[in-house]
Amino acid sequence: MSFDAALVGRFIKGDKRACSRIVSIVEDRRARYEEYLDALQPYGGGAYVVGITGPPGVWKSTLINKLAAQYLNDGKNICVIAVDPSSPFSGGAVLGDRIRIGDIGLNPKFYFRSLSSRGSLGGLSEATLDIIRVFDAFGKEIIIVETVGTGQNEVDVMQACDTTVVVTMPGTGDDIQAQKAGILEIGNIFVINKSDRDGVERTLRELQTMLQMNPLNDKYEIPIILAKSNTGDGISDVKNNIEKHRSYMASSGWLFARRSERNARDFKKLIERKFIKYLDSALAETPEFMKAESSVKTGEISPHRAGEKIFEYVRKKIFHLTGE
């Protein structure tokens, strides 16, 4: 597939279909997708990225709908990227977060894109960070990223976003205990949604206790907001606290640091992916690889020993390296 400069031209002029298509190219990792990202790079940098995460069923989508509506009221150009899980069996997915968009869907300053996690286990899909870059270059001022419903370990969102909001609800006391090593550490803002339900005081107390022990809390007091996203209660509080955290991030130098780190990590991952892809095709049909693979399958040789052998083969025969 060739690089379509006209498509990029249309993108830069603000054509929504061109943007959608480039997102697909990047999402699918189609041939030469890196060139599109490279071409868009000069147009990005203006977006602020907010991640929303938490267990399934805490009304994250509804909260995002209300939050996006408030930003739209302020005249902001908004994008929501919502990730839902893919099937481990078929690789397919039903992406249902659009259902909660409601009236704001047709606002010309609003854009909603659903993503399948495509087998990725960190709460986002592998391409999410690059898709954020595409929307950033498209002129979006606020990009809200909704993770799949998360449990403990899905902390990719912290690395991809500037402010992370963790949403929970009353009655998840035991869950919170279990989560304390995972997503409780990554929140810059906590929301207890469905706050009219029984057990809200207990959940609040537990969160407060947990946050007192969080070293991040020493530098910036992490807020806990009570909200009801079905009625909209507490949503302006969420927005104000996002903006407050944003100013803190900018003035403290954290924003720059976090973004630099993100770029460096992305760069390394890209190199890894490139090498793996290159090696996969370079090795695929070689007798050395096929022989080692079949010996591993039958148990004649351990995977570790075979791996070492192939690594040596790659070093000497593909990269022509000598010595240790």
Binding site: R17, R21, S90, G92, V94, L95, L106
Partner: protein
């Protein structure tokens, strides 16, 4: 990497019966497609906007209200207005034969009535827009 077939399953108008839409969505998922479900009571504008934002390969419209001729022609008209010519549109629901002839004449690829095995619908879409998955 992987190019998934993306299908928007849409419920236009006022009927609230989405069992069929959900069964079909599930069948596509199990066949490895990515399905975006719009939810109930969508206007043609919302459906076409969703199809563009999600960059889908096909739109499946489920409609049981009797307003099919109107809804399909609105959706097709809006796709044309937005110069979209690479999204296939198909439908399901209770639609009389005469209307099926009409709908096909305005650009609907196929109508799948009650009792159609979901495999048939999946195979049809895969054959038409297949990217090899």
């Amino acid at each position: 990497m992987s190019e998934k077939i993306k299908v928007l399953i849409a419920k236009p108008g006022l009927d609230g019966h989405d069992r069929g839409a959900k069964v079909v969505a599930r069948a596509f998922r199990d066949a490895g497609f990515e399905v975006i479900y719009t939810g109930l009571r969508q206007t043609p504008e919302q459906i076409v906007n969703a199809a563009i934002e999600e960059d889908v390969d096909a739109i499946g419209v489920s409609i049981l209200s009797g307003a099919h001729n109107h809804c399909f022609s609105e959706i097709i008209g809006l796709l044309k207005k937005n110069q979209v010519d690479d999204i296939m549109i198909f439908g399901g629901g209770i639609i009389p034969d005469d209307d099926i002839t009409y709908l096909k004449s305005i650009g609907v690829a196929e109508i799948f009535g009650p009792g159609t095995p979901t495999d048939d619908t999946v195979k049809f879409v895969k054959d038409r827009v297949g990217k090899g998955n």
